[in-house]
C-alpha cells in the first residue's frame, strides 16, 4: 500500500545512470565493473557498458568509478518510535537516518504506543511512512495483544493491513502455549515469527551480560543462557508447528549452536545479528556508558567469536541494526535506570566492513546479508539489481574515513557508544524508488554529457 500511494502521488524521478562502479549484486551472482540504469522506479539494465544511445533523455549521471554499487540495504529490525515516542525518533527522522546509512527498506517493530497489534496502527504507520518516510517502511505486527504475552493479536488482519512478520520485540513471549499458537497462526499466514529470545526468569534485574565484567562493574548480569534457553524452547515449537522462526539479534555462542543444529535438522529457522554485538564486548559496560546498555546485552569475547563463526559458516542469515533511539533523559541516568538500546542505522556499514577487513566474510557476503538475504527472509521487494527490480540502490565509498560525530547524526537520538570512533566506509548515495534520498556526491550532471 505504501508503495502504491507513493508511486501515484509522487512526481516521477529522472532516470539515473550509475556508471563505472564495482557492481555487487549477490542475488545475481554479480561482482564486477558495470553500469546500472534506473528508470520508472525500476532497474532497467545492468551491463558492462551501457551506450549513450540506451540512456533515456534527462537522465542524471552518477560517476561511480572507485565506488561500490549494490542493492539498497534492508534492515529487518528497527524501532522508529512512531506513534507514541516521537521525542526519541519518528518515521521522518528514522528513515532519514536509514537513508544516510545506505538502507532503502526498514522493518519497524511494533513496540510503539499504542503498539502495532491491530490493523488501525499498521495503517497509521504505513500512511505516515507514505507521507514523510524517505525510504520504504514495512511494519512488523505484534504477536500478542498489547505485547502483553497473554492473547494473540489479530494476526490475520495485521497481515491484510501489510505487516511482513510478527514479533513482540522488547518483550519475549514467555508463555510457551501462546508461542505455539502464534507459530501455528504464522505458519497459516506464511509469515515469519520473530522472537526476542530472553527467558525473563533468568534475566530478571540484569542490566548487562553476566560474567567477570559485570562482577567488576558491580552491575547485575543476565546469564547468556537466558537467551539460549528461549531459543531452544522455541526450536521445539518450531519443529512442532513448522512455522518460520527467526531469532532477533542473536548474541550468544549457545544460541548460534542451537540454530546451527536446527538448520542441519531442516527446521525453517533463521537469525539476524547486530553490528554492535559483533563489535563490542561486555567489557564496554565497565565505563558505565549507558549507550552500551542494550538488550540482549553486549556479550563475552567468546560469544563474539562464536557469532563470527556463525556468520562464516552461514548459520547467521543476515544483519539487522536493532536501531533503538532513546532521548538523553532516558540515558543520562544511573546505568541501572537507563533504557536499553542503541541507535545503529548510520554506523552499521563501517562496523560491518571491519568483518571484511578481518576476513570473517567476503564483501559480497556482507552485502548479501544486508540485501538479498533479508529480502528473502521477509519476502520483501528489492535486495537485487536484476532488471525489473525496484530502483533501490546504494553507492558505497569503502575508503572514506570519517568520525562518528554526535552533531551530524540524522536520528533524533544520539545514544551510540561509537561517537568519536574513526571508521572507514560510507554510503555516499542512496536511491530509493529511483529517487535520490541521500547524497554526498554533489549535484549530479545530466547523462550522457552533452557533446562538446
Amino acid at each position: 500500500m505504501n508503495d502504491e500511494i507513493r508511486q501515484s502521488e509522487g512526481s516521477v524521478p529522472p532516470p539515473l545512470l550509475i556508471r563505472g562502479g564495482r557492481v555487487i549484486d549477490p542475488a545475481a551472482g554479480l561482482d564486477g565493473c558495470a553500469d546500472v540504469l534506473l528508470a520508472g522506479g525500476r532497474v532497467v539494465a545492468v551491463s558492462p557498458h551501457i551506450s549513450d544511445g540506451q540512456v533515456p533523455p534527462g537522465a542524471r549521471l552518477v560517476r561511480a568509478s572507485g565506488l561500490v554499487v549494490c542493492p539498497g540495504f534492508i534492515d529487518l529490525h528497527v524501532h522508529l518510535r512512531e506513534p507514541g515516542h516521537e521525542y526519541k525518533e519518528d518515521i521522518a527522522s528514522g528513515t532519514r537516518a536509514a537513508a544516510a546509512g545506505g538502507f532503502t527498506t526498514v522493518c519497524c517493530m511494533p513496540n510503539t504506543t499504542p503498539p502495532n497489534d491491530c490493523r488501525a496502527v499498521t495503517e497509521l504507520v504505513l500512511r505516515r511512512a507514505a507521507e514523510v518516510g524517505v525510504v520504504r517502511v514495512r511494519p512488523i505486527g505484534a504477536i500478542s495483544q498489547g505485547l502483553r504475552g497473554e492473547a494473540l493479536a489479530e494476526m490475520a488482519e495485521l497481515k491484510e493491513a501489510g505487516v511482513v512478520a510478527f514479533s513482540d520485540d522488547g518483550r519475549p513471549v514467555m508463555n510457551a502455549e501462546l508461542m505455539r499458537r502464534a507459530m501455528e497462526y504464522a505458519r497459516m499466514l506464511g509469515l515469519p515469527l520473530v522472537q526476542h529470545a530472553e527467558d525473563l526468569s533468568l534475566s530478571a534485574g540484569g542490566v548487562m551480560n553476566e560474567g567477570p565484567a559485570a562482577t567488576r562493574a558491580g552491575l547485575r548480569g543476565q546469564p547468556a543462557c537466558a537467551e539460549s534457553v528461549m531459543v531452544l524452547r522455541d526450536l521445539e515449537l518450531c519443529a512442532l508447528t513448522g512455522a518460520r522462526y527467526h531469532v532477533a539479534h542473536i548474541s550468544t555462542a549457545a544460541s548460534v549452536r542451537a540454530v546451527r543444529e536446527a538448520k542441519r535438522a531442516g527446521l525453517p529457522v533463521s537469525c539476524e545479528v547486530t553490528p554492535h554485538h559483533l563489535t563490542l564486548t561486555d567489557a564496554a559496560c565497565c565505563s558505565y556508558d549507558t549507550a552500551t546498555k542494550v538488550a540482549p546485552p553486549l556479550r563475552s569475547e567468546a560469544d563474539v567469536a562464536a557469532l563470527k563463526e556463525g556468520l562464516a559458516d552461514g548459520t547467521i542469515d543476515c544483519f539487522a541494526t536493532d536501531h533503538a533511539p532513546h532521548a538523553p533523559q532516558d540515558k543520562q541516568v544511573e546505568f541501572d535506570r537507563a533504557a536499553f538500546g542503541m541507535i545503529g542505522l548510520e554506523t552499521a556499514l563501517p562496523l560491518l566492513l571491519r568483518l571484511v577487513e578481518e576476513r570473517v566474510i567476503s564483501l559480497p557476503d556482507m552485502i548479501a546479508r544486508l540485501t538479498s538475504r533479508p529480502a528473502t527472509l521477509f519476502g520483501l521487494p528489492g535486495g537485487s539489481l536484476r532488471p525489473g527490480s525496484p530502483a533501490d540502490v546504494t553507492v558505497l565509498d569503502l575508503q572514506r574515513v570519517w568520525t562518528v560525530d554526535g552533531t551530524t547524526i540524522r536520528s533524533k537520538s544520539r545514544n551510540t557508544p561509537f561517537v568519536g570512533w574513526q571508521v572507514r566506509g560510507r554510503a555516499v548515495l542512496t536511491v530509493c524508488r529511483g529517487e535520490v534520498v541521500h547524497d554526498e556526491m554533489g549535484p549530479l550532471p545530466t547523462a550522457p554529457p552533452a557533446p562538446r
Binding site: T215, A217, G218, Y288, E334, D336
Partner: protein, 314 residues
Amino acid sequence: MAFPHRHLLGMADLSPQDITQILDLADTFLEISTRPIKKVPTLRGRTVINLFLEPSTRTRTSFEIAAKRLSADTINLSGSTASTVKGETLLDTARNLQAMAPDVVVLRHSASGAAHLIAAHIDAAVINAGDGMHEHPTQALLDLATIRRHKGDMARLRVGICGDIAHSRVARSDLIGLTLMGAEVHLVAPRTMMPPGIETLCRPPGRVHLHDALDEVLPLVDVMMMLRLQSERQSAGLFPNLREYSRTFGLGPARAARLRPDAIIMHPGPLHRGVEIDPAVADGPRSVILEQVTYGVAVRMALLYLLGGGTVEA
C-alpha cells in the same frame, strides 16, 4: 608527594603507593582523634557535601565527624531530603551541587557507577562512599588500616572474607586492596552468592582462592572478615532461610575456636547478630570491629585532606 588522583571512585584506581600514603596519613589523624581537642584547621573554609541517597547512618556520621575535625563546612543531604526522590535525576542533583561550588562531594548511592556519573559532571572532588554492588573504597581503606595496625606488613597475609560476595561492594574493594598490598584472599560464599569471574578483580592475578565451605578456610587465615547478610536475598531465592545460612556460613564460638590463635575477626557492619556472626564472637577478644569504626574516621580525614584542596607537605 602529591596525591595523584582528583577523585576516589574505587580501589581499582589506586596503586600500592597511593594506599600506603593514605594509610600513613590515617595513622597521623588517628593520633589527633585521641587528643582532648580533636580539631585541626586544615580544611577551614572548604565545603564538604555528604550526599547520601541510600540510607547509611554509620558511614555518613563517620564522614561528617572526619570533615568537622578538619574544620570543613559540612552539609548533609540524605535520601529523604535530597530531591532525587522527587523525580529529579542524579545528574540534575549533581549540577545543582556544582552551582554551590563545593570542594568535596561524598556520594552514597544504590546504583553502581553513580559516583562515576557525578564525577564526570562536577568540578568538586568526588569520594565514593559506596555505589551499588560496585565499590566501597573508604571501607576497604579502613579495613586495610586496621589490619596493618594488627599484622604489620600485609604481604603474604591470609585474609578470609565470608558471606554474600555477589552483592557486596565491600568484598570487591577489600579484594582489590588486599591483593594489591600483597595479601592472599580466601573468599567464602554459597555458590548462589559467589559472582562469576570475581577472581579477575584480584591484582596481580592468582592471589585469590574461592571456597564454598567456611570450615576449610578458618585454620588458614590471619584475618577473618564476615559480611552482613541481607534478609532480602532470601526472598530472591539465594538461600533457603536464615537459620540454615547461619549454621552453614555463620561464625559462632565453635567455629571461631578453629581460627589460629592470633587471628583477628572483622565485620564492616552493621552487624546482623546471630546470622553471620554470633554476639559472643562479635564482642569477643579477637574482634576488632570497633577499631574499624575508629579507623573509619581517621581514613576519611586522610582522604578529605588529600582530595579537599589541602596540599600534602613534602
